[in-house]
């Protein structure tokens, strides 16, 4: 019925189709390539810096971006109206200077002159207004929440912009040091519309060449950068989902910088004479959401018992070998609201805890479940906390949830306790308001303390720094007494780098600012 010759012919056809897939795809696999250059084989004499990222940056459009990893690439592609310095203070960038009226509602920004976008168009007040309008009313914009107090933006002259707020909002400038302050080329947006994210144009030290999703983003030197000559010819951001492989690639020279070093790889990096580790305090915090709205943690004394029973110094030592800082508030050193005394942990006192348990009606201890993420570090954290609480007959069971599920469980409030932190922002309000004020988006623990709401909202509108600090001190103390959220530690920024890379300046947001980098 079916001769051997026929079979062979058919077989050839089938196999041929499969190989055709490889051949076709191989050609188009380069994405929107500009040049065929690859990072692993640079042309002679070209300085290339390869940066390893933990995850794929999804979007080159700051208006819709929500991922931390986008921000690393933005540090090369874009500039912002304001930036942060090594001490965590706000400094001018594209906005040369600013004035704000005493009532805190009107900001006048004077813009840097002579700056051009990568496509040659001018950076000016019209461009700034365009970006604000896009962020505030753009259909897909994710910046609406942080800009909700902006009433209007107007062009005064080519280099002056006036921003009118609905009410005083002290964190406003801080918001402009992040994605909302990034200015993209209006011409590029008008030209590409929805596809802008695949053709980003900014004013930054590097221009966009190509992005292959899940693999890399390639940028090349901006020859006309306004803020000093760029010394490196090309920057590649490469995705390494496996932390150990990322570190090995740093050691082998395939990568020059990595965005984050897993704790267990720290000795490997430190032990390699070609590498250096930048280990500094970041701006964020990690801790445990307690569900204030249902038993057992609707009971203040039981919350306090858990909060007081944890020995934070030991957690930091055991899990991080000292590469983290114990925390009892949301604020790290350098933050306006930082309070050293409030943030210093105290050793657990067995009598105090027994007393709290008794007051809470559970003198024999109680049970609850903690949801944690799936990483090995999280598992370890869970185990350490479990053993600390066990001493007081507080039996904590652990359950691992994948990240998407963890977020959803937190949102829905279907938990006793849930481990989630925050990467941290420059302004105290951005690390507190949406986490503890009644009904806010990150207040998974359903904390609702009227006096706390009052203090935090007042601090948001208070323009005087000293008065603001006083309000935050009071708020932090109140939150601590109520143990609404259990702060555990402030994570460090752990950037691994080849010693050949010079010119790196550490900033507490953990972003790698490539404008000043050079390579030997």
């Amino acid at each position: 019925m079916f001769s051997t010759k026929m079979s062979k012919a058919m077989l050839g056809a089938v196999l041929g189709t499969v190989l055709l897939v490889t051949g076709c795809g191989g050609g188009s696999g380069a994405g929107t390539a500009d040049s065929g250059k690859t990072a692993t084989a640079p042309a002679a004499g070209k300085k290339v810096i390869n940066i390893g990222l933990k995850a794929d940056p999804p979007s080159m459009d700051p208006s819709i971006s929500t991922s931390l990893y986008d921000r690393q690439v933005y540090a090369s592609l874009y500039d912002k109206l304001f930036d942060i310095d090594a001490q965590g203070k706000i400094v001018p960038m594209l906005a040369e200077s600013y004035e704000v009226t005493p009532d805190g509602k009107t900001y006048t920004l004077k813009l840097k002159q002579g700056v051009k976008f990568h496509d040659g168009t001018d950076f000016d007040a019209d461009a700034v207004k365009f970006n604000f309008d896009r962020n505030i009313s753009g259909e897909k914009s994710r910046r609406k929440g942080e800009l909700k107090f902006v009433e209007s933006v107007s062009v005064v002259d080519k280099s002056t912009v006036k921003i009118q707020l609905k009410e005083p909002f002290a964190p406003f400038l801080s918001v402009l040091t992040d994605r909302s302050g990034i200015i993209v080329s209006p011409k590029a947006v008008k030209e590409h519309g929805e596809q802008y994210l695949n053709h980003p144009v900014g004013t930054g030290p590097f221009t966009f060449v190509e992005q292959v999703k899940g693999d890399h983003v390639t940028l090349k030197k901006n020859e006309n950068y306004w803020n000093g000559a760029v010394k490196v010819d090309e920057v590649n951001y490469k995705v390494f989902t496996n932390g150990t492989a990322k570190v090995q690639n740093l050691r082998s020279g395939t990568l020059d910088i990595i965005d984050d070093t897993p704790v267990k790889e720290i000795p490997v990096v430190k032990g390699d004479t070609n590498l250096q580790l930048i280990a500094e305090s970041g701006m964020g915090f990690q801790g445990i959401y307690l569900n204030n709205s249902r038993p057992p943690f609707d009971n203040k004394f039981l919350r306090q018992a858990v909060d007081r029973a944890i020995e934070r110094e030991a957690v930091v030592k055991v899990l991080y070998n000292g590469y983290a800082a114990p925390a009892r508030t949301a604020f790290t050193k350098g933050n306006l609201a930082y309070n050293e005394q409030l943030n210093t942990p105290t050793a657990p006192n067995a009598d105090e805890i027994k007393d709290l348990l008794a007051k809470g009606g559970k003198p024999g201890g109680f049970d609850f479940k903690l949801y944690i993420a799936t990483s090995p570090e999280n598992e370890q954290l869970g185990a350490v906390l479990q053993s600390m609480l066990k001493q007081y007959n507080i039996n904590m069971t652990l359950e691992k949830l994948e990240y998407g599920q963890l977020i959803e469980t937190g949102d829905k409030g279907e938990f006793d306790a849930l481990q989630l932190g925050w990467s941290g922002r420059q302004d105290p309000d951005q690390n507190l308001h949406d986490f503890v004020v009644t009904g806010t988006s990150n207040n998974n623990g359903r904390i609702s303390i009227p006096k706390l709401d009052e203090l935090v909202v007042a601090a948001r509108g208070e323009m005087d720094e000293a008065k603001r600090k006083a309000l935050y001190d009071e708020a932090a103390k109140l939150l601590q007494d109520e143990a609404g959220y259990v702060y555990l530690y402030h994570q460090y920024v752990l950037i691994g780098m080849n010693k050949k890379v010079t010119g790196f300046n550490y900033v507490p947001d953990g972003l790698i600012r490539t404008a000043t980098l050079d390579k030997q």
């Binding site: 050691r251 989630l420 990150n442």
Partner: protein
């Protein structure tokens, strides 16, 4: 001819079933794409707006048929998280995995054949025991550990090979092949163990058959006996195993792809599941199903080529 046509027609209900199952399964996972995309920066307004934008507020059945309708017109849809056509994503990621699969398979054969033949022919001797022991070791060692050890040895301590990365073949063939060596070796070593054992046992069966004794009696030397007569008869189980292996590698290379940072197809599927990118998962699994069907078809036709007693469509697993 009819055989092939019939098999190709059967593919359609298979694909339909696969797509329905995938759709149901992925929608059963808690946590929706809008929430995962927005992460901790989600305000209720942003969340609702995104859900509407992504069409997630429609009933599931409507979502499925709307997807199916587009597929029938050749449109696999737009990735929820990356906002690029799914077909483009797949075409970008498939070549690397296909190349890895081919490379892994080649490594597996190049090791398994000599080892398996020697082991069968010198059964009971130290050659046999060594090969079998190594095979057992190979199957037991986790491939990700082996991969990591190879990176440390070949790329870090001695800078002989690249530790990671992928360059499309047509862009830079040398770099492409260099980067493929370690991943193919790491995965291939393990797969070769499976093939080797299959080949050995199949050969042992054949070698004890009458016609082999006849050949020996006729004075044929050992090499010609084995290679000329026994091997071909022993191939059917090996081909079956290979077919299954290749089909499995298309999705199963995800760990190798993660460690060597290769933008492959397996990773695409796994990462899309984590991101709840339903559209990409659907499209990718559909493509994967098509490829698996094709590989199975090729295997079935290969039987007819190897063993003329098997007429394709009869006695080839039908």
């Amino acid at each position: 001819m009819m055989f092939v046509v019939r098999r190709l027609l059967l593919t359609i209900p298979i694909l339909l079933l696969v797509s329905i199952m995938t759709f149901s399964l992925i929608h059963m996972i808690p946590g929706d794409p809008a929430r995962v995309i927005l992460g901790q920066e989600a305000t209720p307004e942003a969340y609702q707006a995104l859900r509407t934008e992504l069409g997630l507020d429609q009933p599931i059945v409507v979502q499925y048929f709307s997807w199916l309708g587009k597929v029938l017109q050749g449109d696999l849809g737009i990735s929820i998280t990356d906002r690029v056509p799914v077909s483009e994503l797949i075409m970008q990621r498939l070549p690397a995995t296909v190349e890895l699969t081919i490379g892994t398979f080649l490594v597996a054969i190049l090791i398994a054949f000599p080892a398996g033949i020697l082991a069968a022919v010198r059964r009971g001797t130290w050659v046999d025991y060594t090969s079998t022991f190594t095979a057992l070791g190979g199957m037991s060692i986790p491939s990700f550990w082996l991969a990591m050890m190879m990176i440390i040895f070949f790329a870090v301590n001695n800078q002989w090979l690249p530790a990671s990365g992928y360059v499309p073949f047509l862009e830079n063939p040398t770099q492409n092949l260099l980067a493929m060596i370690l991943p193919c070796l790491a995965t291939g070593l393990r797969e070769s163990a499976v093939l080797m054992r299959m080949l050995r046992s199949s050969l042992l069966d054949v070698v004890s058959m009458d016609f082999i004794r006849t050949a020996k009696a006729k004075g044929l030397n050992e090499a010609r006996t084995i290679l000329g007569h026994a091997l071909r008869n022993a191939m059917v189980p090996v081909v079956t195993t290979s077919g299954l292996m290749i089909a499995g590698l298309l999705g199963g290379l995800v760990i190798t792809e993660s460690i060597f940072s290769i933008p492959g197809f397996g990773r695409l599927i796994v990462e899309s599941v984590f991101k709840r990118d339903y559209v990409t998962v659907q499209g990718a699994i559909l493509v994967s199903a098509v490829l698996v069907v094709m590989v199975n078809l090729a295997v079935d036709m290969l039987y007819a080529v190897i063993d003329p007693r098997i007429k394709a469509g009869k006695g080839a697993g039908e």
